[in-house]
Symmetry: C2
Subunit: 641 residues, 2 copies
């Protein structure tokens, strides 16, 4: 079997392993042979034209394969995925093999022209686009059906033959990156360009947003500190803080769009053409002809999907929201009961009992979030979305709405039903701080510690004196394949989103929230960086031009916070005292101010351009050039007449 | 001089005049010679390669020229402007000369493949793109400077040498169109496709919107009638009507986007690539190198423009708004004074005096609108916008804000300051109906009557027995060049926008407004059609994919109307009676309902897709094909390896 690709090794002497493929233990020989043949086969024969080598360890061949590609193959792949790179004249252009000499840092012998993350992305793209031709099934597995055009890798994954595909870490690069990123305590920006080179644009953009958001919160935090230090309780100061906060949050979200455009222009993803999306792996249906592509693929009626969404998912989500509110009411009953108990029998035990309800509630909230997350994933999967992007949008929407209610419902209740600002401030602080500590622990430190322990045990078995750098390839692969899989930026953004909620929804009651958020985010940068570099498998790079649906989520939150803050200010006794004669005037004034603030927000969002002027100019220049090229063609044709 | 283009006449025997160029009376010979030479010259020599003929009348040559083009030239021009036409397989594709055989109705001898409006648009585009090469000035006019790349026609227009360029009517087509459009009273839709063929997409889309909007108002009108007939005054019925109205207006605006996509897909403009915009004729500045195009052209600092906008235009607009409010206050004072006078000395004269203030106010409003319009045009022109689209947006914004306040300020004052619902209803009805009557008169009937009178006089001089069809070309051109110029759809949309305001802003007070709007719009269709066909010069076709900034304007109006209606309902005595104990509860309930309605509106706008599914599929198919074509190229290259 090994012979079948040995000829490739001679063709390219320096095989550089980029991606690891792990097949399940008992995979049949014929399947392996067929799959590897397809991977190395020429493009003309429907192959991926990549290089593959089995990983040989002390225990012999273990169904683990290393995939690489020749330099030329990678350059052609870069053209196929539509990579955008910088030209010698500093403009960004879509890479094509024929124009390769015009690109910056390009040289025929420069194998660093494409970053390792880009190479791995290209290989992933090529593997996923390895499509069945006349095979009716995966050889050796009659139950794993194929049809012309079906992605082989996706079918192998869904039928369990393929355990995982993951890109290899580059120990040396990783060491450099982690040193400049979190290795030393320093004042300064993160090395975003290096992060992007190593982990790809999606992750770099998350860290860019995290950093930007932290800096953006600093003015709020600075203004918030004197409120705590001097224990200011004046109404006008709170109003000023809230007003500043509301307008500031609009400004930072608008300015982020501009920052994001600057970053993604530099990285080339702003200009990258969207690839045509293939159906997601889990999508199923009866075979039919896709009217768009003309290909045979599973089809699923959009009306059925709509029915599932509106008749099952929507009611279920509403029920969950209701249940969450019900649990909250039970919590408040318990709280009341504990208070009564404490009043009746004052003792050490009873004062301890005061904390029990909130502990129970906190635990229940976490459990509910967890169960709901599984339910949401199941439901969204059952809705059978054709595209991964549409699946993600529906999942994010479901999870966002529930998490929002689950986290903030008790605060809303305290603020607007119980109307106890002291309790609100206290609950807000407790919720914010404990959730931050819990998150940091559960998300980074715990996995890091587990990974470390596992590492140490693994290494003891192998050779206890070796450092990371001395590990053989086989040892490295074996260690990395056991690492956890990073499931994407969803949870990280969700955490920031909820934090933004704590900071802005009740900002006029608890100005100190921004201070805690800033402190948390500074450590968050370090712990997230640690998580990415040490805890998880290296993720595949994913090109992206913006933070997608999260922009909308943050903007919605900032609109909601205008409403909540206006109501809170309206309810404060200091404002009440300003309108001694008529409560009506008070309410009307508050409503007027709220509408004014909302109007200003929308006008500001409209007036601030989404892209900085120089990026606009660069984009216009590219557009102009492509239009001119088109005109030239027409003109050349007319000249001939 | 005539000889210089006579060779072209033999090349194409059937010269069809499409566009008329009128030069000023005293234009120098050398200028005419140079200009016509540039028009007929080959593309390779920097000409437009069109055909041109002087118009010979009884009085000799009158500096009026007819422009046409050969069939081949028009097809090449269609490719240059990026026209999208229907293929034989019913898909819409960008026309290219090389793929011409795949298009529906194409035949080498079928000269109707391009509509006359399309041909005229192509000629206009070619004339406007006739650019100076090494000329430093217009020959014969040293003060009319040129620089390489400057549009010759635009310079001729700004220096007054070129009086006007306009497309010729096609008497036969026009007769057919006007017959099917407004010739007979009939129930049914307008012939939108025919209108589009004759007048182009912008005008057809306006009539499409007008028709759609009229149909969309019918449900409101039907529900509104019983309120008048049975004199319902119950609070719950008004609330129901207002709620329906508010949600309905969101639905119709969202559905319009879908209708618009269907229309413009069929017309090909949805797919048409935006052309690179040249500086507008009035734009001036010092010569510099445009960083986008690399061409020499006038440059103007964007910071200077921003300063002019924010430091001059914005304060001026605010001042005008303040002045308009001031005039309104004077009106109310006058009204009060007239009322007092009437009470003191009750007589026929005094009861007549009651009407004087409102008549004066109506006249003053019209005069203010007019003066403001000129001021706005002057200011926007002074802001020196580089692009016509940006000029238009700034002008529309200025005019919209002022007209909104001027028309609705008195109603707002009556509703929320005087709080007199009876007076509000009465003012609303008066304003709506009188403005409709005045508009119809001033906009269509008066110009029609003037035009008719002028026509009759003209024809008496020529030959009194001739009908429209028998007129010679010279007579037709002479008649059309004296007709008024249609200045675009701005005023028509503005009228609809204000009407939408009357219908929706106070819908819970005066449900009958929708009935009047429907009645007005039915006659409006006829009078606007008459105006287009009989009163004005034929306008150049303008491809467009949507109604642009008006969509935003209507959506903003529908958001404002949620606020006004909620306040109005909250103030009604019936609702007041429901909350006898606490005014607070009333206000809070109203605020809650308002926020709910706004949230529902935004969710609806988000959930309803902007394009119908089948259009989405067709667009996806085209995108897929172009991506596949790109991939094929890459693959073909890889195969060679």
């Amino acid at each position: 079997m090994v012979e079948s690709w040995s000829f490739l090794d001679t063709a390219e002497s320096n095989f550089r392993p980029l991606v690891v493929i792990e097949l399940s233990k008992g995979t049949k020989e014929e399947t392996i042979e067929w799959f590897t043949k397809r991977i190395v086969d020429k493009k003309a024969n429907g192959g991926a034209q990549l290089l593959i080598k089995p990983l040989v360890t002390e225990n012999g061949v273990e169904n683990i394969y290393l995939v690489g590609a020749s330099h030329l193959r990678l350059l052609l792949g870069a053209e196929a995925v539509g990579l955008v790179k910088e030209c010698s004249d500093n403009s960004m252009r879509t890479f094509t093999y024929s124009s390769r000499k015009t690109f910056k840092h390009y040289a025929d012998d420069n194998h660093d022209f494409l970053t390792m993350a880009e190479c791995q992305y290209i290989i992933k793209h090529e593997l996923e686009n390895l499509r069945a031709r006349d095979e009716k099934m995966i050889p050796g597995y009659p139950q794993a059906k194929l049809y012309p055009g079906k992605s082989i890798v996706r079918r192998l994954l869904t039928s369990g033959i393929l355990v995982q595909i993951f890109p290899l870490h580059d120990r040396e690069e990783l060491k450099k990156l982690s040193h400049s990123w979190y290795g030393r305590v320093k004042i300064g920006y993160q090395p975003l360009d290096d992060i992007r080179c190593y982990f790809g644009e999606t992750i770099a953009l998350y860290f860019g947003f995290l950093e930007y958001f932290t800096f953006a919160l600093i003015p709020m935090a600075v203004i918030g500190i004197p409120y705590y230090v001097f224990a200011w309780e004046d109404y006008d100061k709170y109003v000023m803080f809230a007003t500043f906060n509301l307008l500031w949050s609009t400004v930072i979200l608008e300015v982020w769009k501009r920052m994001c455009a600057i970053l993604t222009y530099r990285w080339g993803t702003l200009l990258m053409k969207r690839q045509f999306e293939e159906p997601r792996p889990g999508f199923h249906g009866v075979l039919g002809i896709n009217p768009v592509t003309g290909r045979e693929e599973p089809m699923y009626s959009s009306i059925k999907r709509q029915l599932r969404i509106y008749l099952v998912s929507l009611p279920f989500v509403c029920l969950c929201l209701y249940f969450s509110l019900y649990v909250m009411m039970i919590y408040f009953d318990l709280e009341q009961w504990a208070l009564d108990y404490h009043k009746e029998n004052e003792s050490n035990f009873s004062s301890l009992m005061l904390y029990v309800p909130s502990i129970i509630y906190a635990v229940v909230i976490e459990i509910m979030n967890l169960i709901y997350r599984y339910a949401a994933e199941f439901l969204t999967s059952w809705e059978n979305h054709r595209l991964e992007s549409s699946y993600q949008n529906h999942l994010i929407l479901k999870v966002l709405v529930f998490n929002f209610l689950n986290c903030f419902a008790s605060l809303f209740y305290i603020a607007f039903v119980i109307v106890d600002m002291k309790l609100l401030r206290q609950s807000l602080a407790t919720l914010l701080i404990t959730s931050q500590i819990l998150n940091q622990f559960a998300e980074s430190l715990l996995p890091y510690w587990l990974q470390k322990r596992y590492d140490r045990r693994m290494r003891k078995r192998m050779c206890p004196t070796k450092t990371d750098m001395d590990l053989s390839l086989a040892e490295q692969v074996n260690m990395e394949k056991e690492m956890g899989t990073y499931l994407g930026t969803f949870d990280d953004y969700l955490e920031l989103f909820l934090q933004f909620g704590y900071v802005s929804l009740f900002s006029c009651v608890y100005p100190l929230a921004a201070v805690f958020a800033v402190l948390n985010n500074i450590t968050e940068i370090y712990s997230d960086a640690l998580k990415m570099c040490r805890v998880y498998k290296r993720p595949f790079a994913e090109p992206t031009a913006n933070i997608g649906v999260w922009q909308l989520a943050f903007e919605t939150m900032s609109v909601i916070s205008v409403v909540t803050n206006c109501i809170l200010i309206g309810m404060s006794p200091e404002v009440d005292a300003l309108f001694p004669d008529s409560k009506m005037d008070l309410v009307l004034t508050v409503a007027l101010v709220e509408h004014l603030l909302l109007a200003i927000k929308f006008i500001m969002a409209f007036v601030i351009p989404d892209k900085p002027r120089d990026i606009q100019m660069k984009l216009a220049k590219l557009e102009f050039e492509s239009l001119e090229a088109l005109k030239q063609q027409v003109r050349a044709f007319q000249m001939q007449l």
